[in-house]
Symmetry: C2
Subunit: 358 residues, 2 copies
């Protein structure tokens, strides 16, 4: 539209006012100015006022790097996540950032897209750049990353799952899988399938599968790998997953999904194929995204309080930074939310077994 206008402005280096300048203007020493700006120490209210005024007049902004170098604290906390493209992580980070900001901390963010090497680089980079504390997701990391993490001179918290080596705030992912499968089992299903995201560098996905398997095993039902479709964490992935399961010799009457995104994909694919949910197919997800309650039929799922997790991580890290003692392991509660995507199997879908005489 408008003709491109070529900017030529060089990257200027206008010297910003220093604390020194503020101090001079206020007629105090840099030491006092520093204390006044920090607000904490014993400085006459009147002096504080004078310094504040001088700072405002000069448009003074404290220089982070200098503060960091002198104090050893950067007021910055790092978060390393798989990706922001999944609502769950985005939501947790949002909550984390909001909590941190309220306490004067900044958020340094890195996403690694499930690439272990990239994660290692991010950890190294953050540790170097100097964050006061760090959050990572899950327990799958390169040995090198583990070393960096456990030997870091700062508080580090593992989120989303657990590992003895680090403070952790997470969910019982296996239990999530268990609850989902158990629910379907209780409804009477016997022919299962699962749609999972890729399990590489993703202990949560593996644990959820393991949990579902445990529930099924209790009912003497096997869940071979052939009945677990692995797909990208997208709606399209969910659709493809269901398509794959439907191609099985004995297609499932119930499918457990690694998360809600996949579950919604499954629902959409089912609808498109004319399968009625839950009459022809029961679907359970994990996460409880906003859309889960809005889609038709509303999705039965395992609720994971992800935003709360973000808040807890912030609180934990901040407390550790204050030197407070904290539990090393905090398990966030999860629960089954029954909605209308799951129901008892219809007769033709039920495998007649001697035990099932109903």
């Amino acid at each position: 539209m408008a003709g491109a206008d070529w900017g030529r402005r060089a990257v200027r280096r206008i010297p910003r006012p220093t604390l020194q300048a503020v101090a001079e203007r206020a007629g105090v020493s840099p030491a006092t100015a520093s204390r006044a700006m920090a607000g904490s120490a014993a400085v006459l209210p009147e002096t504080v006022e004078r310094v504040r005024a001088a700072a405002a007049a000069l448009g003074y902004l404290p220089g982070g790097p200098a503060q960091a170098l002198a104090s050893g604290r950067t007021q910055t906390i790092g978060a390393i996540i798989p990706t922001l493209d999944h609502a769950i992580f985005a939501r947790a980070v949002q909550a984390l950032q909001t909590s941190l900001a309220r306490h004067g901390y900044q958020l340094l963010l890195a996403a690694h897209d499930y690439a272990a090497a990239q994660e290692a680089a991010a950890v190294r980079s953050m540790l170097g750049r100097g964050v006061d504390a760090l959050m990572v997701v899950g327990a799958d990391h390169l040995p090198e990353t583990w070393t960096l993490l456990t030997e870091a001179p700062i508080p580090v918290v593992l989120s989303w799952s657990f590992d003895e080596r680090l403070d952790a705030i997470g969910f019982d992912n296996a239990q999530a899988g268990y609850l989902a499968a158990r629910h379907l089992l209780d409804l009477g299903h016997r022919r299962f399938g699962m749609v999972s995201g890729f399990t590489e560098a993703n202990d949560r996905a593996r644990l959820r599968i393991a949990g579902a398997r445990r529930a099924l095993a209790e009912a003497r039902i096997d869940l071979p790998n052939a009945r677990i479709a692995q797909a990208p964490f997208t709606l399209a992935g969910g659709r493809a997953g269901l398509a794959q399961l439907l191609g099985l010799a004995e297609p499932p009457s119930a499918v457990v999904c690694g998360n809600d995104l996949l579950a919604v994909g499954v629902l959409l694919e089912a609808e498109q194929r004319g399968l009625r949910v839950p009459q022809d197919l029961s679907v359970v997800g994990i996460d409880n995204l906003e859309i889960a309650s809005h889609i038709a039929p509303p999705l039965t799922t395992i609720h994971l309080p992800t935003a709360e997790l973000g808040r807890q991580v912030a609180e934990h890290l901040l407390a550790r930074l204050r030197g407070e003692a904290r539990p090393r392991r905090i398990e966030m509660p999860i629960e089954l939310v029954e909605r209308r995507s799951s129901g008892p199997p219809t007769v033709e879908n039920t495998v007649r077994s001697p035990i099932q005489a109903a």
Copy 2:
């Protein structure tokens, strides 16, 4: 589950190895060590090797704050967005971060939740902490924020929309609204409604409304405020928005939505109310989220390349940092994606007008 185990580990202050230590171990001066680590300057390959080895042996990580203080560069870029809870921003940030990381830059992220004061605080904080460049979203900012932004000694780019005062990479939001309404108009609709997000501190939302109005005005159709439902940017908001419009004396046969999230909410509400889309109601969104193409019926929408925007912002800022000249305004292309949520109005929905003799 497992009994809470109370960690007592104090926040240790293990002195990390310094460049000085690396230099000694390599038998060179700190100056040479610095140059060797930077890779750039004229240092014998053999010396570089020696320094690298020493650094590795000691587990040396360059100290960011010190580097920043000495060099005046933090290798960090700031991004201030409304919220990560909307997929569009999350996606753009994800792309931005990935591009930055590839070039050795870190991302400092802040969300302000559409609160102007919080945004101002974030800008101040980032400028202080020292970012090498900054991205903000939209053109709605407090005067104070504008001052900070335009007088910042670093490259700043405004994203998502445009403003003469700053380099900008954005979309023609008005055109997006225009295209959406135009499409519906061309289909023959005459009774319009709009579901928009809140317009406060959100020039994008206002521009989209303005654009839609312009299109309608060309057809001599008025879009009074009463026909524009304002709702939160959520599915529930979209549902409520449609509910409101349906309560009108002359309910719309076509609705333009401020974004896809609202549009999907509208679709869901329509389905629940038994309205057929597009026979009874045509719906158009803006964004082209993944779900737009998967939901039933697939959503007609205006595609905005948000991930590409993130990438462009990274590229722009990095180029400016290198001192390269760049266009001050980059407009990302947008286009209508026709799907099945929009169609011609049915007869009973069409307002008989002298001009409309068909």
